[in-house]
Amino acid sequence: MEAQSTAINYLPIIFQILVALGFAVGTMAVTHMIGPKRKTSDKLTPFEAGIKVVGNARQPFSVKYFLVAILFVLFDVEVIFMYPWAVNFRELGSTGMIEMFIFMGTLLLGFFYIIKKKALDWD
């Protein structure tokens, strides 16, 4: 096991990035070049599941979407903290168990708070 990592160790990552970028750029370029081009007004409109496009997408919409979205992100991201804990469950022992319960308890308090505060009520 190496204590120090040098620049050469990151070479695979650079290859990975090059391949990923190359694939995306390459396929786009190739389809543009070899694909047939028939530009009619119907072909150039944005495709939205067969429904006719109505109005501009950049208009104000209800702030409730943001609230629900941010709460979703909040409680969704917390789950990530469960993974490292679950992986190291045995090593962390009962202390880790208690700490996780405190963490989840705090989250639960927050969840109960937003429900009582009617943050998720749409009307």
């Binding site: 705090t106 308090l109 708070y113 009582k116």
Partner: protein, 462 residues
């Protein structure tokens, strides 16, 4: 540690009290909880055994002292808040708990022993403050304050984090002691310190200067302080500033001390610009609140003295200065809140004739202004005296000369308030001073005068 847990649990408790419509109990419970936290803090005096929690936190006397001031100042400011938040909106409990969360972040900031904890503390404090600055949702100035504070604060946090990352790259550790060891061994063995480290130190200095509002990174301060609700401004300019300086001092005094010759000129220049920018601009203000904002910038300059001339007295100097400044500012903001509630104005003219109608309020404001200006027999004088003598002992004679010139400039604008109160007559009704304001004013005035005439009252063993 107990204080930190108490405050965090208290914040959640207050949130739930608000949920169950126990609005009458909010303030008493908050104050009681803070008193318990203060008791735990003071109880921890002189029982430091070493960094705890995998060397993340270090509850030494420095941490105890600054936790003590910040908790006490918060209690005084919250005492003023009776009936204040109710006028803003119905979500009173949330305001209390956000202030408490901010205080929890501050306790982390003053007792960190690892740069990640510094970052976490600053973030907990700042995110709470961004919300608090904007709690007047319908008020344009409050919105502006919140947005400006958020953008500037996020930017400065970026600088700070970039600095932390570079220092980690050079020293392979976030731990303050380990970084100091890295510097010392490199300096002793004559090995070159990586240029990353120097860049990191400067970036962290920039980030911290942003947070304490030192020039040339002070441009957000006047607008944010003016736009926020006055009580929140009081919190920002006393508690938050104290915590910022405690964190600043801890970082530079314990961690970067071996590189003192490198960063001292940087901080020296920041100090001089801060002093002049704060004092000269404050001269031209017609609005009391904005004047206080600029004066807080100039006081940041005086507190930076401790970091420029890191002596044995540096922590003690910041400690005394922070108490003096907090006490005087709390009086000034209490007067401002009363004035805004009664006359709706915060210009200097609204103080005309106050000396005749409200002698007690006028007297306390006079003491506060004298203390801020650094006139003898007040705490402000002792604070400045320790700072200046500290700087003189490390041969910064010119800095002290410039600072004395600035102290003289500051007398002009502080005395405008006193002149307005006693020497300008105006037809006015007597202001009604509620009991809680009287208590806070009395406590702050007694503290200011007591430290002014008997500074040995404060322990000098931080």
């Amino acid at each position: 540690m107990n204080a930190l847990i108490t405050i965090s649990v208290l914040a959640v408790l207050v949130l739930y009290l608000g949920l169950y419509k126990a609005n009458k109990a909010l303030l008493p419970v908050t104050l009681l909880g803070l008193a318990v936290a203060l008791f735990f803090t003071i109880n921890h005096w002189n029982v430091f055994t070493g960094p705890t929690f995998n060397d993340m936190m270090s509850y030494d006397n420095f941490a105890v002292a600054f936790s003590g001031i910040t908790i006490t100042s918060t209690m005084l400011i919250l005492l003023l808040s009776k009936g204040y938040f109710e006028k803003i909106s119905d979500h009173v409990a949330e305001y209390y708990s956000i202030i408490l969360f901010s205080l929890a972040g501050i306790l982390v900031m003053v007792s960190y022993h690892n740069m990640t904890m510094l970052f976490i503390g600053i973030e907990i404090m700042s995110v709470s403050l961004y919300i608090l600055a904007g709690i007047r949702k319908q008020d344009f100035a409050s919105n502006e304050a919140a947005l400006k504070y958020f953008l500037m604060g996020a930017f400065s946090t970026g600088f700070l984090l970039f600095g932390v990352a570079l220092i980690y790259g050079a020293a392979h550790s976030f731990d303050l002691e380990a970084i100091k060891m890295h510097l010392e061994t490199n300096l002793q063995t004559g090995q070159a310190i990586s240029p990353l480290f120097y860049t990191g130190v400067v970036l962290m200095a920039v980030g911290m200067a942003f947070k304490v509002g030192a020039a040339p990174f002070h441009f957000w301060t006047p607008d944010v302080y003016e736009g926020s609700p006055s009580l929140i401004t009081a919190f920002m300019s006393t508690v938050v500033k104290t915590a910022g300086f405690a964190a600043f001092l801890r970082l530079f005094a314990t961690c970067f001390y071996p590189l003192h010759d490198f960063w001292m000129p940087v901080i020296l220049v920041i100090t001089i610009i801060t002093l002049f920018a704060g004092n000269i601009t404050a001269l031209y203000q017609n609005n009391f609140k904005r004047m206080l904002a600029w004066s807080s910038i100039s006081h940041a300059g005086y507190m930076l003295f401790a970091i420029v001339s890191l002596g044995s007295e540096a922590s003690y100097g910041v400690f005394v200065y922070a108490i003096a400044y907090s006490a005087a500012s709390i009086i000034a903001f209490a007067g401002l809140v009363l004035m805004q509630a009664n006359t709706g104005s915060d210009s200097f003219d609204s103080f005309n004739g106050l000396g005749r109608k409200n002698p007690f309020l006028a007297f306390t404001l006079t003491v506060a202004m004298l203390s801020l200006a650094g006139i003898p027999l007040t705490a402000g004088f002792i604070g400045k005296f320790i700072m200046f003598s500290n700087a003189l002992s490390s041969m910064h004679t010119w800095l002290v000369v410039l600072a004395v010139i600035n102290a003289v400039i500051s007398i002009f604008y502080y005395f405008r308030v006193i002149v307005a109160m006693y020497f300008k007559d105006a037809e006015r009704a007597e202001l009604e001073i509620p009991l809680n304001f009287k208590v806070v004013l009395a406590i702050s005035v007694v503290a200011t005068i007591l430290i002014g005439i008997w500074p040995a009252f404060l322990p000098n063993v931080i």
